[in-house]
Subunit: 261 residues, 2 copies
């Protein structure tokens, strides 16, 4: 198999509750495997790391939804994201006939990052992405492999870094847009971005910068959804063809929220 | 880069105390990076798994030096071997200029195994290797990547399995002998197989089946060294060109113990 610029590549990011429930995960992976064309899966795993921290009597320190990653927390996310979640997902995909392989940003030097500078908050071993090695990712795809990427990067000097999975997916999508026609799909336990959090039928079908601003102003879109949508706009501005936020159980790009410039 | 049968490939297995001490590991990795030609690193990590089990108040059940792997123990080795040890090693190799990537047997369907049948002892989720996908490993090498392999396999039906790292290294060496001229190096904290465990200068320079039998009969070679040497003879019988047991700090194939048929 060879790759060329007209080929469609889909980056799918899955996180949260979907990863924690075996039935939800299996159902999502069935949809993922059935999804046509070349694809890359990016996963989170936040709550699993929190659970392991609790069992180890290590306090999970969060500021504005972001984990403060000291050396112990880094070991925990390396174990949970890079080991448990990543390898279980790969084994499950193999069983479903998808030739997956798990990677972090350190593997094949795929994603380098810089430790976030200390300003008001010291986030610890958290990495802000500096480069995605899209040639290396393309070489894996050219072997017929579906990469499964854990939200860990490295600084090139031996230091692993914890990196937000939504941002990873966006950065990978942007870099891969150099050589593919890229779609980015954020999927989670809801059917899309909702105008009423209690009504799963209230999916906002199209979100443009103006309507996004108004939903934010009204407090309808808030907290964890904001960086996801901000990452979506950045991806579109930098050459990604389409961004959809949709349900992990359907992975249906027609029923979710389409982000548009 | 292309690969061909006359090319030399070295499989290096490292384990035990070397992995636990940061200075020993770094020194070993320097030697590994400097080692010429194509290479694959296979690592263990047993004591790190035991340490995490202790922190989680999970009892490590061992029978004859082998871990009994129930579901909780499997999660622990998946986190420690597949996550912590594997990714830290990859990040350290990247920092030393070696383009490494970490894998388990599930990734790229590299190594399939069968859950060990229950006889006198139920070892739990322990895998006996059925197939090494040497074409896939060769395809990674052909990208200029140095594989770093954690001692985990899968059964192809979604189940990860814990597999002895010495056996993994031997099975990989045998499979790769189909397309390369393969050397297998077991390295650890001692300079080789010793005739006197208290004297590091007592390295047995050559070990053949007859002398091995006599050392075993006299109790000089015992416990963990026996499966390592048994694996070495199997590798040689199945086409591996040379097997050496030597020091991780020197990785010197001339000063260790050479296993010969």
């Amino acid at each position: 198999m060879t790759v060329n610029q007209s080929q469609i590549l889909t980056i799918v990011k899955v996180g949260g509750a979907v990863l924690e429930d075996e039935a939800s995960l299996s159902s999502f992976l069935d949809r993922f495997v059935a999804f046509p064309g070349l694809k890359i899966l990016v996963h989170g795993g936040g709550r699993a790391a929190t659970k392991l921290s609790e069992k180890l009597n290590v306090e999970s320190k969060m500021v504005e939804g972001r984990r403060i990653t000291d050396a112990t927390a880094l070991d925990i996310v390396t174990m949970v994201y890079g080991g448990l979640v990543n390898k279980k997902t790969v084994a499950a995909l193999q069983a479903k006939g998808c030739n997956a392989a798990g990677f972090t940003g350190a593997d094949m030097n795929l994603i380098t990052a810089q430790k976030r500078p200390v300003q008001q908050i010291d986030y610890g071993f958290v990495g802000d992405i500096s480069k995605v090695n899209y040639e290396a990712l393309a070489s894996i795809l050219s072997l017929g492999i579906t990469p499964v990427i854990a939200p860990l990067t490295h600084n090139g000097n031996g230091q692993l870094l914890n990196t937000n999975a939504d941002t990873m997916a966006s950065a990978i999508a942007v870099a891969m847009a150099n050589i593919f026609s890229v779609s980015l799909i954020y999927c989670f336990e809801k059917p899309g971005v909702l105008s009423n959090p209690d009504d799963d039928k209230s999916v906002i079908s199209v979100l443009k910068p103006e309507s996004y601003q108004s939903f934010k102003d009204n407090g309808i879109i808030h907290s964890g959804m904001i960086p996801k949508i901000d990452n979506s706009f950045v991806a579109l501005q930098k050459g990604v063809k389409q961004v959809i936020i949709t349900s992990a159980s359907s992975l249906d790009i027609n029923t979710g929220t389409k982000i548009m410039l």
